[in-house]
Symmetry: C2
Subunit: 139 residues, 2 copies
């Protein structure tokens, strides 16, 4: 399933899942759909893929546990270190313990929070805090 | 002149200057080009328009002083307070003193920094730090 099918700008930016592993995910975007005035990757695209890496990771991990939840970013901090000059990847990882904590809190309170670090290696890093809520139909 | 003509994702998101005044700017984007899976504004689009508000303001202010400079975001911090459910505006303001400082530093050192706050009223706020460098041809 394409996690980003209903996210219009993610489609425009050509963002796709390129790799995934236990508690980790990598997204990819082509440069040409994300060019800025300087011929490098647009900062808004870098923010978008870094946010989506965290969003996709927690959304997918919960789905795999049979939990349907809405995930929303509530705060993020980004450092842009170097320009992106080719297609780019963003990665995000978490731990089994973190997923267990979030699952438990959803079960008991219907909501949770998680902080995730994502990065475009050598180019940009984000720390983002996500609010997670059970979908009304699943509550 | 459309400041965003060469920024591919800004075109895809339909981001335009909707209003400007002395040392201030407002950008606008339609909801339909920025929808997420929840039918509200995609967080990456909010980050993009908030970043572009600061970028466009300093770029335009310098152009009006006859200075051609490259402006790059180096750090940003964003708080997402409420979902965007219609077309949305982002505003950014600075002061004559800040523009004078940046202009003076560009003249003496060829580079400067500026921190700018931008906001989508009631929905999101960003503080971003921009690096400003004289364009090579203008140095």
């Amino acid at each position: 399933m394409d996690l980003f099918a209903d996210i219009v700008p993610a489609q425009a930016m050509g963002i796709k899942v390129s790799r995934d592993w236990k508690h980790g995910i990598e997204l990819n975007a082509p440069l040409e759909k994300n060019l800025n005035d300087k011929g490098t990757g647009f900062a808004g695209s870098l923010s978008s893929i870094l946010t989506l890496a965290g969003w996709a990771l927690i959304t997918r991990e919960l789905q795999e546990s049979g939990i349907q939840a809405d995930v929303m970013v509530v705060e993020s901090k980004t450092a842009f270190k170097a320009a992106v000059t080719t297609g780019f990847n963003a990665t995000c990882e978490t731990t089994a313990a973190e997923i267990s904590r979030v699952s438990r809190e959803l079960e008991t309170k219907g909501r949770s929070r998680i902080e995730l670090d994502s990065e475009i290696p050598d180019c940009a890093r984000m720390t983002a805090s996500f609010a997670v809520k059970l979908k009304p139909s699943a509550a």
